[in-house]
Symmetry: C2
Subunit: 362 residues, 2 copies
Amino acid sequence: MRILILGFCAFCLWGCGSKGGDSGVKVEKSTAVFDWKMVTTWPKNFPGLGTAPEDFANMVRQMSGGRLNIKVFGAGQLLPPFEVFDAVSQGTAEMGHGAAYYWAGKARGAEFFATVPFGLNAQEMSSWIHHGGGLQLWREMYQPFGLRPFAAGNTGVQMAGWYNREINSMADIVGLKMRIPGLGAEVLSRAGALAVNMPAGEIYTAMQTGVIDATEWVGPYNDLALGLHQVAEYYYYPGWHEPGVVAELIVNVKSFDSLSPDLQVIVEVAARAINQNMLDEYTAKNNQALKELVKAHGVKVRRLPESVLLELRNIANKVISEQANQTELTRRVAASLEKFKSEVMAYHSISEEAFYKARRAD
Amino acid sequence: MRILILGFCAFCLWGCGSKGGDSGVKVEKSTAVFDWKMVTTWPKNFPGLGTAPEDFANMVRQMSGGRLNIKVFGAGQLLPPFEVFDAVSQGTAEMGHGAAYYWAGKARGAEFFATVPFGLNAQEMSSWIHHGGGLQLWREMYQPFGLRPFAAGNTGVQMAGWYNREINSMADIVGLKMRIPGLGAEVLSRAGALAVNMPAGEIYTAMQTGVIDATEWVGPYNDLALGLHQVAEYYYYPGWHEPGVVAELIVNVKSFDSLSPDLQVIVEVAARAINQNMLDEYTAKNNQALKELVKAHGVKVRRLPESVLLELRNIANKVISEQANQTELTRRVAASLEKFKSEVMAYHSISEEAFYKARRAD
């Protein structure tokens, strides 16, 4: 962080009051310029996940009139992707962009702020975070690490992943070596798979060399970009394990507190803007990519059998209960999510879901 | 609008470049303070629709350090709600907040930017506007009026409305005097209803006095606030006519162009933030309100019969085709929407919709 004291100024950026003041009055004001680093878990400029932080940085620079300049680093450029949390916590970088389930080994229960198997979709997660108490709990969980979290993107409902064999029953999951993060990994482990996590940049090679034989990543728009159709034949839906993954912005609290109030609000509002814009991008781009995967690359799209989805949901319920029981805070987080889910499922059954049905019914 | 030239300043808000400049250099800069008026079509501080513009004004004031101060007026405070479009076009107020279908009599095809019967839901509308070409078309449509539109809120899928009799077949729609705006009004007219439009503030009295005998407004959270359960017995779903109404921010182009680039981006990003935040609020609040309507007030919730929904959809398709054929621009708007809908329906059938089904299946 670099702060320049630029001297006396006839107009202070904030705090002058809404009437602007008198041009004859000289206000002594330190005008700080911040050059910040943002480290991310995504390949530099990766569609959606990686371009959203760049959009964020551009918006913040423009809104702040060049007073807050954020340089975005892709995975591995400054540090390995899974070191983002610690780096921002320690102040090596002022900001990070990733997903909370990558930090569950450090902040217990963090995965609840990314996505929950059979949990909330994108619209519902954003609502829980911003109007259902989620954000307060998330801040409480990250406070011991000196981090302030913001929702900053969402993928929408993902695909269930890439496989080299058909999944006709639970028996076909046994023995799978699959890349999958978060609570979904725990569910698949209990179903007999060997679940491993790795960042985006390693998935293709791991599939190609047989280190893993199945993987999920995001959805057609992103999976096409990673080239996963070159290393697997079957593409399954729906993404039961990740129905609306929240991308997170984390900010070092001391750095955040050093910002003037206007810059703090600029950071918060810009995060909100990319939180929606990333979802808008996925929503617009996924189908074109899916058509390309099927028509140009011969990918076979399959629905997971009802019996498999039901069994996975049963396992998921047990996993969620156990993860909820780790600490007093995880209990409160899980209870808040569960209450919200029950309410929103009731209303969405007669609104969003009933509308989807009415729109396409023959 | 009031512009104060505050004199010389050692630091310019934008354009200094990211390195902040040299404290020894004095930069001559006009630092303008704007006191703007925003007129809205909603009752002052009405939940969601009316609080979003207030949130917007607060965010803009904070992000601009008090340089852009927007005073929000509710319907009727400065001018009647349906005069918002003309007032902002003429510069009586710099900004307005409403919904595009209120202006279809002035800007042909404007209703396509609010909502279309059996069209796109909130997530899809935001995606079409921001990543599917919608915003460019919307700007083109409002350009002759000297207005710049922004998406600034969404209600999500609405309810089909309030009735004093059960709707068991299309015959029950014949003769209904119903408050309903936009393309939905045209659909119901062709089904034999007498469709009329009126702003929120007039609906309750119109129902009470029998001027109308059915109405839609938004959904449980808003309809409870209007007290519609006191004037009707049956509450129908799903909101086929308004699956995701976009609330719009309109800005007088000359006023917008008078803002410095940082303030222009602040306006744009704040609009984006309330675009999501309003939907987040409705998503969180609707079910609690619905429970109150049912348990405390005895409202009878009903689903429109499949046969009625199918027939309404057939009529809607004809109405949309005709409305699309008004001008060269409306043809392009409708074609863009139709293409987007076809793509997004295909993908959402295997993602959002398939997930809803997997989440609740027994």
